[in-house]
Amino acid sequence: MDLINDFRDKTHILNLSKLIKKASNKPLNIMEICGGHTHSIMKFGIDKLVGENIKFIHGPGCPVCVMPRHNIDEAIKLSSMPNTIFTTLADMLRVPGSFSTLQKQRAKGCDIRALYSPLDAINIALENPKKNVIFFAIGFETTTPMSAVVVEKALNLNLKNLFFHINHVTVPAPVMALLDDENVKIDAFLGPSHVSVIIGSKPYEKIAKTYKKPIAISGFEPLDMMDSILNLVNQFNENKFEVYNEYDRVVKPNGNEKALNLIKKYFKEVDFSWRGLGLIPKSGLDLKGEFDAINARKVFDCSVESKPENKACICGEILKGRKNPPDCKVFGKVCNPQNPLGSCMVSSEGACAAYYKYKRGS
């Protein structure tokens, strides 16, 4: 068995395409929460395999895109401190703060390193005992447990020079915040793949019942997505609102309990201000108070003054499914992947960036 190519099989995908087109007889707005799904939709052309009635709304599931300017301004301030090595995951380098990006700071001479794995932060701290190493942690539940492992290792090794700036966010909170807005136009959800590996399929059951929306937890391969979309079409036609776990080869009802326990051990819920969506209570995570000694926010001066978001940007509306990227006056003009203005353009996973890359001019 080939776990990658088998799930990209052309015959099966075209079969499901026929079945979806046949079943989909009225307009259906599906929000894919996760940036990885947005990417697969565009890369494999899945939006063109499901017929005219289905419209994809690209949700707030790109951790880079939802990062507010303020947090990036803090990152830039920290990275500019003397005797500092600033580390984060790669895509983050491009994201604009109020006045600069980490990429530009690096060109000015700041020691900023893009990591492949958060574990590398430990090695960098060990190899540079006289420098302060800061790990700027980002991401949804998928990467939160990795940060927790790094925190645990740093504590066990008694590392005095590794500090954490935690910017983790959770998925269920913004989904519910979106659904609480009565103007939102979402009929069904594609549930995230790897967030669900960690949190399991159970947390979605409450959302499906409360808001009466079908949810299919889907893998990233095109066949996974087609299977999930077909299920959502059927549920929608039959007025059902259940949680379908298509990705059951890795998603269990209770998720990865070891990872969840690690998250609970080191992090606490905090309010988080989402780029494009605004403040959502208890949607972010930070280190618990007992770890203040390694919390970069507590140890260093992070005070910054941030510029407000650009008024012309309609990212909030796009995330709610009310507008499309081409509806935005600045889309593809002053706002483009080289010079992103709004949250949806900053990462290649963002709705506007994905549109720009794969569909501009179509």
């Binding site: 990658i4 990209r8 052309k10 995908i13 075209l14 395409s17 996760c34 940036g35 990885g36 990417h39 565009m42 890369k43 494999f44 052309g45 063109k48 395999l49 599931g61 790109c62 951790p63 880079v64 995951l89 790669a90 895509d91 983050m92 380098l93 491009r94 990429q103 530009k104 690096r106 060109a107 000015k108 893009a114 990591l115 492949y116 590398d120 980002i138 991401g139 990467t143 095109p222 992947p337 080289q338 990462s347 290649s348 996973e349 720009y356 890359k357 794969y358 569909k359 501009r360 001019g361 179509s362």
Partner: protein
């Protein structure tokens, strides 16, 4: 104040902007702006091609090659791409204080072997040593001249109604090898760079047909070449994903790091545009040297001048030019 970023050197849109808006403005002339891999010059009655390239590679030694081999291949291949037979190369080194003489000898040896294979002589050069930290180990520049056999001028591609697009082998091997060789990733595979001089295959092509355009798909990969052609020659190009060969290991590295194989560099693989009537003949020659060569698509006229990729599922999307600095995708 605006600064140069790594992305300005990545072969993507940022680099194009740097070249078009700043460099071309400073050195404005028609030969420079012709957007060929090498300048086409006429001296008395001889047609010459002239090109230059600098090489900064980390790591210096990688699976399937080293900085010396690339320094020869890069310049030789650029001359071949305008239809010239490469003849003479210059070579200049900028070396960091403390660099190993053994490694330097190894690089020279590799340059000499590759030059022989490519049928060129290295006839002049220069060496500078800079204090530690002022450059990264060793930088090499090579320039080269060649005799034009058939002048290949990219702009000709625009005059055709329907040109066929071919690729000389599987793509993205060099870029993947370089990614893989970065220490922090800890990757291991059997993959080798495609780095090689293209003199044999290209000279045989030139004997048989006159291509409309040729370009070695180095930085920015296949998608950079196709997008530059579309923009410069005012044509649209449609290619079929299923016809572009990609090795398993390259797929693996791209899947792991979130790269598109079409965006990754090649150092011995080129893209060829030919008239429809010449396509099969060209394919036959290419396949003699590499069985992974294939006809991947064709040009057509519309007002959009875009590159379209037909995915394996038969639906179409745009193939955008790559972004400057290749950063692993995290989401």
């Amino acid at each position: 104040m605006e600064k140069i970023l790594l992305s300005h050197g990545g072969g993507g849109e940022e680099m194009n902007a740097l070249i078009n808006d700043i460099i071309f403005k400073a050195f404005d002339n028609e030969i420079l702006k012709s957007a060929n891999d090498a300048a086409l010059l006429r001296l008395n009655s001889t047609n010459l091609a002239f090109t230059t390239d600098s090489f900064v590679v980390t790591p210096l030694f990688f699976s399937g090659g080293d900085i010396g081999k690339i320094a020869i291949c890069g310049t030789v291949n650029d001359l071949l791409m305008v239809g010239a037979k490469p003849l003479y190369l210059s070579c200049s080194f900028i070396i960091e204080e403390g660099f190993s003489i053994d490694e330097f000898k190894q690089i020279l040896n590799s340059m000499s072997k590759t030059a022989k294979k490519a049928g060129v002589f290295i006839v002049c050069g220069d060496t500078k040593v800079v204090p530690k930290g002022k450059c990264d180990k060793i930088f090499i520049n090579t320039s080269g001249v060649g005799e034009v056999i058939k002048e290949i001028n990219t702009i000709n591609l625009g005059s055709q109604q329907k040109a066929k697009i071919l690729v000389s082998g599987d793509i993205a091997r060099h870029g993947s090898v370089i990614m893989q060789a970065r220490d922090e990733l800890g990757f291991e595979s059997e993959l080798e760079s495609d780095c090689k001089p293209l003199n044999e295959v290209v000279l045989e092509i030139l004997k048989t047909i006159t291509p409309l355009a040729m370009r070695d798909a180095t930085r920015g990969g296949l998608s950079a070449v196709l997008n530059e052609w579309a923009k410069f020659c005012k044509v649209s190009i449609k290619v079929k994903e299923a016809r572009i060969k990609i090795s398993d290991e390259v797929m693996g590295i791209c899947e792991i790091l979130g790269f598109e194989p079409c965006d990754l560099a090649n150092e011995g693989t080129f893209v060829l545009a030919v008239e429809e009537k010449d396509a099969l003949k060209a394919l036959e020659i290419l396949q003699k040297f590499d069985k992974n060569a294939n006809i991947i698509g064709e040009t057509f006229k519309d007002d959009k001048n875009r590159v379209i990729l037909e995915t394996i599922y038969g639906v179409e999307r745009f193939l955008e030019p790559p972004k400057g600095e290749l950063l692993p995708r995290i989401c």
